[in-house]
Amino acid sequence: MDGLVIEHLSKSLGGRVVVDDLSLRVAPGDLVCLLGPSGCGKTTTLRMIGGFLESDSGTIAINGKDVTTVPPERRPTAMVFQNYALWPHMTVFKNVSYGLRLRKLAKDVVEERVVAMLRLVNLAEKRDRHPSQLSGGEQQRVALARALVLEPDLLLLDEPLSNLDAKLRVGVREEIREIQQRLGIATVFVTHDQDEALTISDRIAVMSGGRIEQYDDADGLYRLPRTSFVASFIGVMSTMPGRVGDGGFLLGASTAVVACPALASSPGIEAGVEWSVGVRPEDVRVQAGGEPTASVVKEIPHGHFKELVLRLDGDGSTALRAYVSSETPSTGRVSVSFARALLYRDGHLVHEVAASAPVEAAIGVSRAGVAP
């Protein structure tokens, strides 16, 4: 069993390279998200895995079998489409049993498996309804049942939650994750919603411009985004040009030094070199006392914490975001320091400035898990 192996996959559509030399491995039983903005090639990749699009070059293998040129009806994959694609002229039961009936199984076997699957997705009592009589969430579950009842080697989900309202989405994605783990089915899940990706995936492939920017688990992506694209796409990160000096950073046009005690334990960072400095809002420390280095521009309450938008002294262009506890007084002038920062050059992560982790080693570990 070796799951899904994609090697050097490329596809051009209408003269534009949509998928560019993409390689990806999905271990059996894993749920992997292809995450990226629209037009990044994630759906095209999924359609090539499902067999609906022919690749220009590269190979796709599922459990050791090369399926690159196999038509969709003979691939061991099952897809849940974005708009569910339920057949409107068939009942729920007919929709789910369609694939099994093609496989010339005995009638009672088909009945048994379909009923079991409908029970799994909590739709047993809706079996004789037509899709138009179901709610969006129910249609979504029928589509899932239709795919899962065939016991595919690989489940493909194309933005399956984008048509559901926000509240339902959270419930259904947990349901999908639970069923996927219970059946231990390898799954590729396409989404543009980072929340969705971070909460249900074993690993996430962040895509941009037809390439995988980083392939890592949720924690790795958030903690050590390897490129500035990933850094800006996953979570919130304030990025500004800056230099190291005087035990802190000189950022943008600002003249004040933003302290960063962790710099002391991060030797080997060239002083005077221009970096792109990325800081997560939770790593920004804000104090009312001390020598003020920034002013509060805006305060956004989030319930149990609040978000401050800060403007560094002498620098009008960069907005620095900080999460602070609701009790923190936010006067006009504050002093700012960084507990942790990431240094990028040419869009790639070079240094992690943190009190605990020796930087290069940590990046090395995260690199080892990345597809070439």
Binding site: A85, L102, A147
Partner: protein, 301 residues
């Protein structure tokens, strides 16, 4: 009910609205006046249109049951069923009824077999010159048919198709091609391709996908097209007259001789008979026609 409280009904209002008026508040009733005038206008328009459409039919029905009817009397002087009896005892006329009901279904089926694959291809594949083809199909119906038929007749003589069964089927087929291509093509095109993808995904081959997913979903449009083709073939007179006479005289062709050689009663009876299947079929498909399958079919895309 205190309908009197509203005072004198405004001129131009129907009694029903006067009854309803007290239920509404006074300012609203005032604002409704222009609407009422418009309604009356629409009503008159509908009445005129109905008279225009049903007037001749009514006149036809009267003639079909008339014994003697002279000007200027509004109704026939005497009524009679004798022409109905005569028509049903006239073997040539009975034969033409049989022929019409033979040609129409055959032409419809042949047309479906020829046109439906074309419709599917036009809807699903990037056929070069697709739009031009659709426009040409439509344009073939825009020119006077008789000119076209005369030219075709020359061709048919050369191919020994004149006076043959196949020749009549072929000439009637011409008039059905437009509906049989356009309407089903629109139906096929309106089926999301992802529904077909989903069927292939769970293991169905192309052919099975067509018969279990595409065809059932396009069925209403195809049904409408087949009814229209049936009616087109059933009513076709010019081409059949040219190609079929004297071997194959269908009902509409027979009408020509009835109109010229018999009193109006005979033609009226025959015309009523000729319109029965049309009315029956149109009633049958009115849901689909009104539902937009027909309108969609004639959208230029």
């Amino acid at each position: 009910m205190s309908s009197v409280t509203a005072g004198a009904p405004a001129p131009g209002r129907t009694s029903q609205e006067t009854m309803a008026a007290p239920a509404r508040s006074t300012p609203r009733a005032g604002r409704r006046r222009p609407l009422t005038v418009r309604r009356v206008g629409v009503g008159i328009g509908i009445a005129l249109l109905a008279a225009f459409i049903f007037g001749p039919l009514l006149w036809l029905m009267l003639w079909a049951f008339a014994g003697v009817w002279h000007y200027p009397s509004l109704l026939p002087q005497s009524w009679s069923l004798s022409w109905w009896r005569q028509i049903f005892h006239y073997p040539q006329l009975v034969r033409s009824v049989g022929l019409s009901f033979t040609f129409a279904p055959i032409v419809t089926l042949v047309s479906a077999v020829v046109c439906l694959p074309a419709a599917y291809a036009l809807a699903r594949f990037p056929v070069p010159g697709r739009r031009t083809l659709l426009v040409v199909l439509f344009a073939s119906n825009a020119f006077p048919k008789i000119g076209l038929y005369i030219t075709i007749a020359g061709l048919f003589y050369a191919l020994h198709l004149m006076g043959t069964f196949f020749g009549v089927v072929l000439i009637q087929l011409l008039g059905t091609v437009v509906f049989m291509t356009w309407i089903p093509a629109a139906s096929f095109a309106s089926i999301p391709r992802v529904l077909e993808d989903a069927a292939r995904d769970v293991g169905a081959g192309r052919l099975r996908v067509f018969f279990t997913v595409t065809l059932p979903l396009a069925a209403p449009g195809i049904f409408v097209a087949m009814v229209l083709a049936f009616l087109a073939s059933f009513d076709e007179a010019q081409g059949t007259f040219l190609v079929g006479v004297p071997n194959y005289v269908t009902m509409p062709v027979q009408m020509y001789s009835l109109v010229s050689d018999y009193p109006p009663q005979a033609a009226a009876v025959f015309a009523v008979l000729l319109s029965v299947p049309s009315v029956a079929l149109m009633l049958l498909v009115r849901k689909h026609v009104l539902g937009g399958a027909l309108a969609r079919g004639f959208e230029l895309r």
